[in-house]
Symmetry: C2
Subunit: 245 residues, 2 copies
DNA sequence: GTAGAATTATGTTTTACAACACACAAAGAT
DNA sequence: ATCTTTGTGTGTTGTAAAACATAATTCTAC
């Protein structure tokens, strides 16, 4: 058996196991109400796709066609502003679904999605998802719930980004990373490594100011920094800064 | 028949006609799939409430319990920021529904709602709405659609408010008012009269700057202003300013 | 009708942040 | 190894918009 066959077989094995995990074990809990006929339909249509670091998954103005399911890696949703200043709107972790909003709104994407690191995605045609929603009320509720939570975050983010000062915005971003990805085993190192530029695009500031403000936090012993590795020493203080300013 | 009886009767008549119009004629089209038994349930639970100018309908951190339906008047959804600087998030016109997001997200309100002018609202317990959603797929789709559109607007607003300069933000606000409420019969006067302060809270700027920038537009013959009456002379230019700046 | 408050208007000062410029280190390519 | 590119760190300058101050005008209440 040559290496190609082996690789294909191992890949098929991987696909099979992943799909089984996603559809059957169903970590987000949205498929469990489907009967086995429906489940077969989904497993048939479900495809796996890998993305390289920084590869674009979809772009603003594209027509939405698929529901994406983040299985491994990290994904950012962002929107390009004037003069090419992108704003990161949302960061995703496994297992989260995305790409469906624009389809439901019946409009082109208003934001773009890109892989943050090597990433594996599941992909399901929205037409099929629509069909399933119409058949299964629990699925409808899943999306109502998700959309509602995202809308709340988005409204809150508006205040954070427009009214807080630089330190408050950066603190807010660090807290978001902490809440979204958590700590490593040492219970203090953020489980995501971002460029200063991404940190800036998350907090609505220039890269220089992200660097400067981060250094400020280091001087105040609120965090330590080792390259892109950020350790949070004083989470309470960080939340205080985020809250008041 | 004395005036009190007459007033009560006329009010009952008004209530009956409004409810009939809302539930049966169903301007937003969300109740039409209900059978008559279901419709009766809704008409029974549906109550009318009047609000004075500036009266608060619900406030941030309240527990959401009702679906509100704006029948007459105007309503603003806003969020108080630091130092009491409110940001207007959304403006509503008849017939639009609101107040449901937080209930669906299973969290307290993150924004407040207040009447902009004397306003009549319909009110329906969310528990009942939930029940109806579970029974009627079209109703589920209605909310999925609404939430999706609102989330898109909210994400877009983030860029507008954070990246555009003052003139661009104010122009954007005027365009929003135009698209939301339209013109009067003269085809140029905005069909909403806002205080400069509200205009400022819509565009993320201080009241002084709203006044100043508005004067600027007047000097440039883009608009005319007569108290709170705003006439748009050059909508094309306004859209251009909104887009690039 | 007058007092008082709220809203609108405009000028002046202050400041937070972007823009720019440059130095240096790390990572990839040749 | 050397060159190039990409990311990081820091000082300097410029400016958009907030903050503050103070009239003038328009609403509201009694």
């Amino acid at each position: 058996m040559n290496w190609l066959v082996a690789s294909v077989l191992s890949r098929l094995q991987m696909i099979k196991s992943v799909i089984e995990r996603v559809i059957s074990d169903d970590m987000a809990g949205i498929w469990k109400i489907l009967d086995s006929e429906e489940k077969r339909k989904i497993v048939d249509a479900f495809t796996l796709q890998n993305f390289r670091k920084n590869q674009i998954i979809y772009a603003e103005k594209d027509t939405p066609e698929n529901l994406w399911c983040l299985l491994k890696g990290k994904v950012k949703l962002y929107k390009d502003g004037l003069g090419g200043r992108p704003q990161i709107l949302r960061l995703l972790r496994p297992v989260q679904y995305f790409g469906y909003r624009a389809y439901f709104a019946d409009e082109p994407y208003v934001s773009s999605a890109a892989a943050f690191e090597p990433t594996t995605l599941g992909c399901l045609p929205m037409a099929l998802v629509s069909e399933m929603i119409t058949q299964n009320n629990r699925l409808a509720w899943f999306f109502i719930h998700e959309l509602s939570r995202n809308l709340g975050s988005s409204d809150t983010k508006i205040i954070n980004l427009t009214q807080k000062h630089i330190r408050g915005r950066l603190a807010e971003a660090l807290i978001l990373l902490r809440d979204n990805y958590g700590y490593e085993d040492d219970n203090s190192t953020l489980n995501i490594f971002m460029a200063r530029e991404d940190l800036a695009n998350l907090s609505n500031m220039t890269t220089s100011n992200a660097i400067r403000t981060l250094s400020g936090f280091v001087n105040e012993k609120i965090i330590t920094v080792d390259g892109r590795r950020i350790k949070i020493l004083n989470e309470t203080m960080l939340r205080k800064i985020s809250k008041f300013g």
